[in-house]
């Protein structure tokens, strides 16, 4: 992809074999189960995001991969080698810490060189590699500064350089962009992906920020209460959530309960009392008849019009109760006759546009394929 020869972390893993394999990993702190029976396979060169709220066990899982926490059960294989009992200082893994954990008494250069010095790398080689790394993260000329003389973004890049300089097989990143402000975070996200692409290192990122996960990840694992609920590409997770929790956690969603009333292989109908209608879904659902299900519709998939749309199914009427103009999109809150409120996001395509106003009666419609049905 890039012209520069990318330094490869390791000889290529056997094709088809997962690079990182986590088997039934469990961590208990007393009675509390922080991570419960997690199994995962991560391919070489992937950017895998562990996404979840605070206390979901994502950081504990990452710390077990780094070797800071001994698992209560299960095993971790990296490149086919069982590293479960290997102490952190002998693992072919490096970590970028949440608050960076830069050594305050060392200069940028000494910080980045620290890992290489532990391996007894030759002085000249350390110097070359450190400067290569600093060039890569665009910190040339900062080598004699101490961490407290750097800005937040610069510190983040030093931490990244320090973690990458040893060419680890696996780089673990704990909330890598959490301490940066919004603008810087957006820019750094793309830098991070670029860098990963050039170096070919496998990344495992822990984050609570779904936007960060969506931007960075090739695959996302959504965690809750120590378990991984769903693993998939950002599109999978967003468009095909497998549970109420995942649908609700990623992005904004209209969630309502319903009951299967018509169950055919190519379509189903779900009675949703809160919507005051039955919802038509143009694909089959694997659930027993009369099963209680949840129906999820993303706000941007609902069309909001003044006139009644020509379609027959999935058409509702209501009144606008809330409007938030955000520039690129406008968010509406529409109350149905049942009292249930739906969120709708409409793109602002035209600069001058007669948009529905407060208390206006409007029509809603969504395509049958936009409905997501989850059974748990």
């Amino acid at each position: 992809m890039t012209a520069a020869p990318a330094p490869r972390a390791t000889p290529a893993a056997p094709p088809g074999q997962p690079y990182v394999r986590i088997e039934g990993l469990t961590k208990r702190f007393g009675d509390f189960v922080a991570v419960r029976q997690v199994s995962l396979e991560i391919a070489r060169g992937e950017i895998f995001c562990l996404l979840g709220g605070s206390g979901c066990g994502k950081t504990t899982l990452l710390r077990m991969l780094a070797g800071f926490e001994a698992p209560t059960g299960g095993a971790v294989f990296i490149d086919g080698v069982d590293v479960t009992a290997v102490p952190p200082y002998e693992r072919p893994v490096n970590m970028m810490f949440q608050a960076y954990a830069l050594f305050p008494h060392m200069t940028v250069e000494q910080n980045v060189a620290f890992g290489l010095r532990q391996d007894g790398t030759a002085r000249a080689e350390i110097a070359t590699r450190v400067h290569e790394m600093l060039a890569l993260v665009q910190l040339e000329g900062y080598d004699k500064r101490k961490p407290h003389q750097l800005s937040g973004g610069q510190r983040q890049r030093v931490a990244l350089a320090r973690a990458l300089v040893k060419r680890p097989k696996l780089l673990l990143l704990d909330e890598p962009l959490g301490a940066l402000d919004k603008k810087l975070r957006e820019r750094t996200q793309f830098e991070l992906v670029n860098l990963q692409d050039r170096l070919g290192v496998t990344f495992i990122i822990v984050t609570h920020d779904q936007e960060e996960a969506m931007t960075l990840a090739t695959r996302i694992g959504v965690m809750r209460a120590g378990e991984i609920l769903q693993v998939g590409t950002p599109t999978d997770i967003y468009e095909f959530p497998n549970s109420r929790f995942v649908a609700d956690f990623i992005g904004s969603v209209n969630l309502t309960d319903g009951k299967l009333v018509e169950d055919e292989p190519d379509h189903v109908r779900i009675d949703c009392p809160q919507l005051g209608t039955t919802v038509f879904v143009d694909h089959g659902v694997s659930a027993p008849p009369d099963a209680q299900v949840s129906v999820a519709v993303r706000p941007e998939k609902i069309q909001l019009t003044r006139e009644r749309p020509p379609q027959v199914d999935n058409v509702l009427s209501g009144t606008v109760t809330g409007i938030a103009y955000l520039g690129d999109v406008t968010r509406y809150l529409v109350r149905l006759p049942t009292g249930f409120e739906l969120r709708i996001t409409a793109p602002n395509v035209f600069r001058r546009e007669e948009r529905p106003a407060h208390d206006e009666a409007v029509w809603l419609h969504w395509h049958p394929s936009a409905t997501v049905v989850v059974t748990r």
Binding site: F68, P88, Y89, M95, F97, A101, F103, F114, A163, K166
Partner: protein
């Protein structure tokens, strides 16, 4: 009208703001006043005596300031005390010996205190408080009493000798008291808390993720201690060493009670000059020189620390 009202309001605000400022100044002034009355003034008196001469009177020194004829104030400063102090082998030896005893005691206290402080700082919550209390506990009894207790322990028929005899390790009581060993023991024992407390606060402040980061980068725990923990707790080490070394140099009670007749320390020499010899000027000169030497140490250390902070 409106402008005038605003001005009045502003003036009133300023008056309100000025009142706590006065209170604040008073709060700061109090300790300074205390130091001026109970430290600076006595120091100046000692300084005056150091430049005086012995005389059979009460107090046993010649006055430095005196009224001469024609309403002239006569100031007579004798530098002989200082030249005497520096010229006499005994005093120089006492100084050097004090510095050595204090230095070795400080080093021993550091070697014992660091693991203690480390253990306390890393102990689980409830234990930490208990261990911390145990370090401070000796202060609940008088310092003098504790040194006397060591006399009882180390004496020929003391607890230590009794135990050694009973165990058959020795056949006759060892001479423990009135030795350099007893002095070092007393010093380290008495000043250990002063070493442990600043070390504890420095180690406790240390961010543990730094050690994880070191391990993550391939650094073994022992090496991480020397490359991360030790340099980052240096301030605590400096503070602890200073708090032990400075009082140890001028220590009188411990060498007097636990040391032998040949334990030559400057604190004892000053005592002897004052009370046995009744040579106040020489004693004062010794005290002044001691103060100068110790101030030199403090300044040197401060400069090193300031340089480090800048770098």
């Amino acid at each position: 009208m409106n402008a005038a009202g605003a001005l009045a309001a502003r003036l009133q605000r300023r008056a309100v703001a000025a009142r706590p400022a006065l209170g604040r100044r008073l709060v700061i002034a109090l300790p300074y006043l205390w130091l001026a009355v109970f430290f600076l003034a006595p120091f100046l008196i000692v300084l005056k005596i150091a430049f005086s001469n012995v005389q059979l009177s009460m107090p046993p020194v010649e006055p430095v300031f005196s009224w001469a004829a024609d309403q002239v104030v006569q100031i007579r400063l004798h530098l002989s005390n200082f030249s005497f102090v520096f010229g006499d082998q005994l005093y120089v030896a006492a100084f050097l010996n004090s510095l050595q005893v204090a230095g070795v005691s400080t080093l021993l206290a550091l070697l014992i205190g660091y693991p203690m402080a480390y253990g306390i700082a890393r102990a689980p919550g409830t234990w930490r408080n208990i261990l911390f209390l145990l370090v401070v506990l000796p202060f609940f009894t008088s310092f003098l009493l504790r040194v006397y207790a060591w006399m009882g322990l180390l004496g020929r028929s003391g607890l230590v000798n009794g135990l050694l005899l009973k165990l058959g390790l020795v056949h006759e009581p060892l001479q423990l008291l009135q030795t350099d060993f007893a002095v070092y023991l007393g010093m380290v024992y008495s000043y250990l808390p002063f070493m442990v407390l600043p070390l504890y606060s420095a180690i406790e402040k240390l961010d543990l993720t730094l050690l994880e980061a070191a391990a993550d980068l391939g650094c073994r725990p022992t090496k991480a201690f020397f490359t991360i923990t030790l340099p980052l707790t240096r301030e605590g080490i400096f503070a602890g060493c200073l708090l032990v070394f400075i009082p140890a140099v001028g220590e009188y009670v411990i060498p007097a009670l636990l040391g032998g007749p040949d334990t030559l320390m400057i604190g004892r020499v000053v005592w002897d000059e004052f009370f046995a010899n009744r040579d106040w000027p020489v004693a004062s000169a010794l005290a002044i020189v001691l103060l100068a030497v110790l101030s030199g140490f403090v300044l040197l250390l401060q400069r090193v620390q300031a340089q480090e902070r800048e770098a």
